[in-house]
């Protein structure tokens, strides 16, 4: 066992060396040994995948290693690719070793079964395939099938990580580490995938249901809603239509979002000189312009009946609280309601004016 742990601890060092100038002394047999180590680590991964305690122990040992991006147990399984990529990109590798490397990558080593599902050649073909298959035109996705493939992929991987939490960080631990604002887009994609049903984003994740507590979507939501700054950044970044689509499925999100819109709306002041609602200071992250606020509420109007009613009720309530004015310029909520009613009247009387209203 101790030998195993010691061996695993060498992996970060091996990867670091493959990227450094030390490889200039490598001859083909040394290269072969390095590749053998790679395959050995992959083999370890396969053997201990299903044993949580050993997995955790090996993962811990890996992280004890050198500085640099932290490695986890999963990286053992990808060792051949990581090593191969590091060496391929290393200009210091002498030609003889380089030839040997290319040969071994293009032809699987003799006496071994076909390389595992993640060989370097397969990775290269997949990267090329992504280049080849034409990307469809992007539009604001409101349905899981319409998600842009890169975003969808990141969401699926995040989902996997939340379910397969090998290091026991818990959802918060995983989510904290992710760089925003990208994380918000990925979280939205994840929520969209989860809403589509059992098998939308998960592949072979039957153990998810057995986990204690709620599923990943609930964990993500509570993380988002738990911090007002996060929620605000999330709602600010994403388009209104997407947020409405998500609110339809996740009511807590809908409520919080409406509340947020309320607080944003309350910050607007009417400028009599320009005859418009403006924000009191220059637009910071916490503020929304009048046009955007209006557009966001319009998205609610285009949404399902339940949300439409909720938004209208909320607006009416706010209007009443503000003094129930019917004249423009006194309460932002009155004005919003007037705008929305105007749109709806136009819509109901002549549907083809819809395009005008959306300008």
């Amino acid at each position: 066992m101790e030998t195993l742990l010691w061996q695993v601890e060498q992996l970060p060092g091996l990867l670091a060396v493959s990227r450094s100038g030390q490889v200039r002394d490598w001859d083909p047999p040394t290269l072969d040994r390095a590749l053998q180590w790679g395959r050995y680590f992959q083999h370890l991964h396969g053997r201990f995948r299903a044993q949580p305690r050993l997995r955790a122990a090996l993962g811990q040992r890996l992280r004890r290693g050198q500085p640099g991006p932290p490695l986890g147990f999963g990286h053992l399984g990808r060792c051949p690719e990581l090593l191969g990529l590091a060496l391929l990109g290393n200009r210091a590798l002498p030609p003889a070793a380089c030839h040997r490397l290319l040969r071994s990558l293009l032809l699987p080593p003799s006496g071994q079964a076909t390389p595992g599902p993640c060989s370097l050649g397969l990775l290269a073909r997949r990267r090329a395939a992504v280049q080849l298959l034409p990307p469809p035109p992007s539009s604001a996705p409101a349905r899981p099938e319409e998600l842009e493939p890169p975003l969808r992929t990141e969401a699926q991987l995040l989902l996997s990580r939340l379910q397969e939490d090998e290091e026991g960080q818990g959802p918060e631990g995983v989510l904290e580490k992710l760089p925003g604002p990208r994380v918000y887009r990925v979280l939205a994609a994840l929520l969209l995938l989860e809403q589509a049903g059992d098998n939308a984003g998960r592949e072979g994740a039957s153990w998810a249901e057995h986990r204690e507590g709620a599923g990943p979507a609930a964990a993500v939501l509570s993380w988002l809603l738990g911090d007002p700054g996060r929620l605000s950044a999330f709602c600010r970044l994403l388009p209104g239509s997407l947020l409405v689509a998500l609110s339809a499925r996740y009511p807590q999100l809908g409520t919080s979002y409406l509340r947020l819109l309320t607080s944003w709306g309350n910050r607007l002041r009417f400028d009599p000189l320009r005859g418009q609602w403006v924000s009191s200071r220059c637009l910071s992250e916490d503020e929304l312009s009048w046009e955007e606020l209006r557009e966001r509420f319009r998205c609610f109007m285009r949404g399902p009946a339940q949300l439409r009613e909720a938004a209208l009720a909320s607006l009416k309530n706010l209007k009443t609280q503000d003094g129930d004015f019917e004249v423009c310029g006194l309460s932002v909520w009155t004005d919003l309601l007037l705008e929305i009613a105007l749109t709806r009247n136009l819509l109901s009387s002549s549907p083809h004016l819809l395009c005008l209203c959306q300008l």
Binding site: G74, R78, C118, A124, P135, P149, S160
Partner: protein, 532 residues
């Protein structure tokens, strides 16, 4: 940059900008702009291809890092893709060139335009290998999700682009969606290169496709179906199958029997078999293959749950229907006591057809004979009945056997063959009850006074001899000897082997195990396999 490049970098940037511009606006002016520029674009792409051809991949990817981007953008423009085949082929060729090694040799795990992704995925603790394995699937899914909204031209381009990717398992759902896609036009939407490539890869067993996808492929692309049939044929001829169960296995594996439940496919496969039979002059191996295929086909048809199944006789539309129905009754579906009666029924019908002056064209005779060949198990039964049953209908059975081995139109020839066969048969029957026989006795019975025996008669005589050896008590004892000395000496191993494995198959299917004949067949087969 290098001055020797035939494609100036400036041009590249120009076209990339154009592609971006075209993608963003759809005004009439921009559409006209596209159409005006298309010939130049085609020239430009042709130039790129020429210069790529002579470069190694590292240089290629250094010079043209954005090729993928350019082509990706262009291919979504409906005017570009609708322009013509040449443009599309240019796309495809260029892509093929830069595919594998360019990514293998790129220097970073993620590539310059994916740094954000890289950071994100690493923060999750995953690698690019994990990312790309999922990404390809997602790109495929999104592509076929959009099929309902895009033009047939676009689908055509996607099919071209998929050609280098066919063996990548993640792309299989996209391939299947393409194969089952039916556009608005009556012409084929998918590129024929694509269809050919998919078929080739499938035949080499490098990918697994669903049955409906393969059926779709064969229905829409005749050359693929023909290749698949010929491929099956070659496999059967060249592989050293030692039992008909193996042959059946190979046939079922090819998915052709199931596909043949669609009458159009059946007709074509049948035609190919017919040609093979004609070209080999009625070789017994080919006849066996046809019989086994028909059997597998009938079984597939019976298992088919579709509501609108064609009746079996619809697959043989130009034949005498009562004959078809009679032949479709397989010996295994009837009890052995009814075999004689059924054989007489079949023979009477065949005789009527052959001798009816109103349909006596060679083609009709051949067609009736070809139909009978499909169900040639009945000929084997006839030979067995000749030796086993006490029936008075040996004439009928001999006629049937004679017909099976030579469908000549010439009445005189037929009569002559029958006479010879009858002579041999009578002599054999005289030896039937002898318990001690010698090889020479049997040889004498089988030989003819003159040496001018027709080849077809030889087949018939051999069949009678083998049946004799198996079903008579005297024949058993000398079977081994007779076969090794006489038959093998005349260089007819294959034929004898064929007859024996058919008999073995019949015994297996009927569940006969312990009879003397069964044991003898297996012993003989073992010997033959050993000496081969």
């Amino acid at each position: 940059m290098a001055q020797d490049t035939a494609v100036p970098k400036l041009s590249f940037q120009y076209w990339l900008n154009k592609a971006v511009e075209w993608g963003q606006t759809t005004t009439l002016e921009s559409q006209q702009d596209v159409c005006l520029h298309l010939p130049k674009l085609q020239e430009f792409l042709q130039q790129i291809y020429e210069s790529l051809k002579h470069m190694n991949s590292t240089t290629a990817i250094q010079r043209f890092p954005l090729i993928g981007q350019l082509l990706g953008r262009l291919c979504w423009n409906p005017f570009v893709v609708g322009y013509g085949k040449n443009l599309k082929l240019a796309f495809c060729k260029i892509h093929k060139k830069i595919i594998l090694l360019c990514h293998l040799l790129s220097s970073s795990e993620w590539g310059a335009n994916k740094v954000g992704t890289g950071t994100f995925i690493s923060a999750l603790g995953y690698t690019s290998a994990d990312y790309y394995s999922k990404l390809v699937k997602n790109v495929s899914i999104l592509n076929f999700f959009y099929f309902s909204r895009v033009s047939d031209d676009h689908v055509n381009v996607v099919s071209l682009f998929c050609i280098p990717l066919i063996t990548l398992p993640d792309v299989t759902p996209l391939l299947e969606a393409l194969l089952t896609y039916h556009g608005g036009r009556s012409q084929e939407v998918l590129s024929s290169e694509f269809l050919e490539a998919v078929n080739e890869t499938f035949l080499k067993k490098k990918i697994a496709l669903s049955e409906s996808a393969i059926l779709s492929l064969w229905l829409r692309h005749l050359p693929s179906l023909e290749k698949a049939t010929l491929h099956l044929f070659e496999r059967l001829i060249s592989s050293q199958t030692s039992s008909l169960e193996e042959v059946a296995c190979i046939i079922k594996d090819s998915l052709l029997p199931k596909a043949a439940c669609h009458p159009a496919i059946f007709r074509i496969v049948d035609e190919i078999f017919k040609n093979a039979l004609l070209e080999t002059g009625g070789a017994p191996e080919v006849m066996t293959i046809i019989q086994m295929f028909t059997r597998c086909f009938v079984q597939a048809h019976q298992k088919d749950n579709k509501q609108h199944k064609f009746p079996l006789k619809a697959y043989f539309p130009h034949q005498h229907q009562p004959l078809v129905i009679a032949l479709l009754k397989h010996p295994f579906d009837l009890s052995a006591t009814l075999w004689s009666q059924h054989l007489k029924y079949i023979t009477d019908m065949l005789k009527a057809i052959i001798e009816d002056k109103s349909i006596r064209t060679y083609a009709d005779l051949f067609e009736s004979w070809f139909l009978f060949v499909h169900f040639g198990e009945w000929a084997d039964i006839a030979a067995e009945q000749l030796l086993k049953s006490e029936d008075e209908s040996s004439d009928t059975f001999l006629w049937l056997l004679a017909f099976y081995y030579n469908p000549h139109n010439d009445k005189e020839k037929r009569t002559q063959i029958l006479v010879e066969a009858r002579a041999v048969y009578d002599r054999l029957m005289m030896l039937f009850s002898c318990t001690t026989l010698s090889v020479t006795d049997l040889q004498a019975a089988a030989s003819t006074k003159t040496d001018k025996r027709q080849p077809c008669t030889k087949h018939l005589v051999r069949h009678l001899l083998i049946s004799f050896l198996l079903f008579s008590s005297g024949g058993h004892k000398i079977a081994q000897e007779f076969i090794s000395h006489v038959i093998l000496a005349s260089n007819t191993t294959n034929e004898v082997f064929g007859l024996l494995i058919r008999t073995a198959y019949r015994f297996n299917q009927l569940g006969l195990k312990n009879q003397r004949a069964v044991k003898l067949v297996n012993e003989l087969l073992q010997e033959l396999r050993f000496t081969d």
